[in-house]
Symmetry: C2
Subunit: 171 residues, 2 copies
């Protein structure tokens, strides 16, 4: 990942300026974006501080945790935000740490899949529990009813966006 983190800067204000004639949709979009960026930065920081881990490592382990048969690197790349070029290094690093192993299933030598080791599974379970606790911590000032209604309403935004994609099929 070549992103930097700009946690001290509020992207909503930067992107938009304090006064603006932007439409409600644009204001909502910038707020969604700045909120997810703020929270993502905090998650990156806590992963590093508490586990010495990066967000791409966490995301990759999350995928493997759910796929007990393992995943090919190309599929892992698709399911995370990591390019094919970077996924190999990421897997090699986790393999060196004993968290991941690469295996050739079913005797087909052309196929290699990555799987979590038992140690990797145990570590991810611990990280996932911490990740959930961080989210609860970050949303501590929001009452449960609002969390539930936000989940439903953001689902409507997501559904609307899905209905109005310009050409998802050609991506």
């Amino acid at each position: 990942m070549t992103e930097t983190e700009a946690t001290s800067i509020d992207l909503e204000i930067i992107a938009h300026g304090p006064k603006s004639g932007a439409k409600a949709e644009t204001r909502l979009w910038l707020r969604m974006l700045s909120t997810t960026k703020l929270m993502t930065s905090e998650i990156r920081r806590r992963l590093r501080a508490e586990f010495g881990a990066t967000l791409p490592q966490f995301d990759l382990m999350a995928q493997l945790y759910r796929e007990t048969d393992g995943l090919r690197l190309g599929e892992l790349s698709k399911r995370t935000m990591v390019t094919n070029g970077n996924i190999t290094g990421l897997v090699e690093r986790l393999e060196a740490d004993g968290m991941v192993k690469r295996v050739t299933p079913d005797g087909d030598r052309r196929v290699t899949v990555a799987r979590l080791t038992d140690e990797g599974k145990a570590l991810f379970a611990t990280m996932a529990a911490a990740h959930e606790a961080w989210l609860c911590d970050m949303m501590a000032d929001v009452d449960q009813d609002m969390i539930a209604s936000l989940w439903r309403e953001i689902g409507m935004v997501k559904g609307s966006a899905s209905n109005h994609l310009s050409g998802a099929a050609d991506e």
Copy 2:
């Protein structure tokens, strides 16, 4: 940017699985994340299709559009999600296209700032209008009251997260 786009895959489902004991906060987080990723992918696709532009180019021009005095590259890097290493190439490319110029203000040779050219300003204004129209299109199925209430309520999530950062000062 080294991110790939996984538009055909719903990250909320992948990350989470169809059944789960996750808390409401985690479910909301995954929905926020998958929604912004879906919409970001669509914006990337439309920028490329309609303007031959990338999202980092758009973000960089957005910053310069608001800062008529220009910005130093380090500051530009902070305000976008582009690393210092990549910002130079991005600026050089936009300069070659005639959208950006680098100038030395106030006779201080040690300082170089990037500014939009008139052509760059005109292009960005066109792109920003298109960007707003895409957002309205993507949110077309969501009524205006809900857009307004989502803006307020996501503001509460953002405020809560801001109140519970672990160590923003040391980033």
